[in-house]
């Protein structure tokens, strides 16, 4: 078991980690925005319902949610979850969308009311004001919080292991059972490098938006 062959097998686990990460991000980012609209809705019942759901999701461990999504359909309705990776994605997308929605809400509520009014008196529709005027201001405001959350997601992917989805830690753990501990430590390097790249990307984005001040 050479260093290279271990690196290759960890890489295959890492691919599945990146797969969970990317798919979760792509789906949770827009879903979070929709949830945030619900949580600031003027229609009270909707607002309360959405806030209760967000409370339940943020108030319970992601690991428990994974287990529930994977086992509950079979136990409650006799329809066992067919795909483990699907269960992981469902749990991750819902969990992260809830967190993202709160970040979006903070961003949306931080925009000065005068920006909407200025847009309105210039004859813009609400949609035009949102996309042409306030969206970029929201993005600029929430970027640091988003960067934090996205980096947490990278490491949370390791939870997929509890329902036996192979990912990076899972691949490294195979060697532990064979009496080899260092591949587990080595797996940390993969997370570090990945998070390092993400940090750089977010840094670039923040720099790109530094030409204006809110």
């Amino acid at each position: 078991m050479s260093f290279i062959s271990i690196t290759l097998s960890l890489l295959s686990g890492f691919c599945s980690t990146v797969y969970i990460f990317l798919l979760t991000l792509v789906m949770a980012l827009p879903l979070g925005l929709i949830i945030s609209f619900g949580s600031i809705s003027g229609f009270k019942p909707l607002r309360w319902l959405v806030r209760m759901i967000v409370w339940a999701i943020r108030g319970t461990p992601l690991m428990l949610q994974l287990i529930i999504v994977f086992y509950a359909p079979g136990l409650l309705f006799g329809l066992p979850m067919q795909s483990r990776i699907l269960a992981v994605l469902i749990a991750f997308v819902i969990n992260y969308a809830a967190y993202f929605s709160e970040i979006y809400r903070g961003g949306i509520e931080s925009v000065n009311k005068g920006q909407y009014e200025a847009g309105q008196v210039l004859g813009m529709t609400k949609t035009q004001v949102f996309f042409k005027v306030v969206l970029l201001q929201i993005v600029k405001r929430i970027l640091p919080a988003m960067s934090n959350e996205v980096i947490t997601l990278v490491k949370d992917t390791s939870l997929a292991r509890v329902i036996l989805v192979p990912e990076l830690i899972h691949s490294a753990n195979v060697y532990v059972s064979k009496g080899l501990i260092w591949p587990l430590f080595y797996s940390g390097v993969f997370y570090l490098v990945f998070c390092g790249i993400l940090t750089l990307l977010f840094g670039c984005a923040e720099k790109k938006l530094s030409y204006f001040r809110i």
Binding site: G114, Q128, Q137
Partner: protein, 259 residues
């Protein structure tokens, strides 16, 4: 024909009557100053006229067209809403420039968005945008900021930001340009440059409604002064009369504070 006629506008917040029935009309080229102490309803009146607040009763006519009727609120299409809105321009106390756009982009943004719905937009895109830019550049130089055309709002002083806001409002050719305490957020040494721009506009016969605490300015620039007190128009008339010979005790007391 009056360019703006406001009839019996009433507005309340909770249990407080902020406007208790305001009526007035203005002619093309008029400059109306609205004065009065804080809480007298000046800003609320301006916001009702600009549809930032919805009055509970009353009517608004522009060029004798009924554009707002509280008793018959009809559903407007987005295009109708825009047309109604664009009769007015509004300059805010706190400027409200768009921070991510430079001066030129601030002035042209609304027009560039609107141009997209023109039928021949895709055909003459270049000409249309060049036209919009050219007009904007002229307006920016008119408010004395030709050298700031690509600056961002944070790089400008308050007075410069407010002059950009005036150019932005003028870009849409409003029938009536409204100012909501345009110099109240400015340091004293910066109010002069903004007032000078407004004076120039008055000289060009632009119809304006100015809510202001600058009494000297109001006296010089306006053709008529409205004094508001507790949600009603307590006194109105030509500035010479209103300032030198106030007929109500309230106005006398109010003006004394400024002397």
């Amino acid at each position: 024909m009056s360019v703006l006629k406001v009839e019996n506008i009433k507005k309340r917040y909770g249990k407080t009557d902020v406007l208790k029935g305001i009526s007035f009309s203005i002619e093309r080229g008029d400059v109306i100053s609205i004065i009065g102490s804080s809480g007298s309803g000046k800003t609320t009146l301006l916001r009702c006229i600009n549809f930032l607040e919805t009055a509970e009763s009353g009517k608004i006519y522009v060029n004798d067209d009924l554009i707002f009727d509280a008793e018959n609120p009809c559903k407007l299409t987005p295009a109708q809403k825009r047309m109604r809105q664009l009769s007015f321009g509004l300059v805010f106390q706190s400027f409200n420039l768009f921070p991510q756009y430079n001066v030129l982009e601030n002035v042209t943004l609304a027009q560039r968005i609107m141009a997209k719905s023109l039928p021949d937009y895709s055909l003459h895109k270049k000409d249309i945008l060049a036209d919009i830019n050219e007009r904007a550049v002229a307006l920016i130089s008119r408010v004395g900021l030709s050298d700031k055309i690509v600056s961002y709002p944070w790089q400008l002083s308050g007075g410069q930001q407010q002059r950009v806001a005036i150019a932005r409002a003028l870009a849409l050719n409003p029938q009536i340009l409204c100012f909501d305490e345009p110099t109240s957020a400015l340091d004293p040494e910066l109010t002069g440059e903004v007032l000078r721009v407004i004076r120039d506009l008055a000289a060009e016969n632009i119809t304006m409604i100015i809510v202001t605490h600058e009494m000297k300015f109001a006296e010089d620039v306006s053709s008529r002064v409205i004094f508001m007190d507790e949600g009603v128009i307590a006194e109105e008339g030509p500035p010479g009369l209103v300032f030198s010979n106030p007929s109500t005790e309230r106005l006398r007391a109010f003006l004394n504070v400024f002397d």
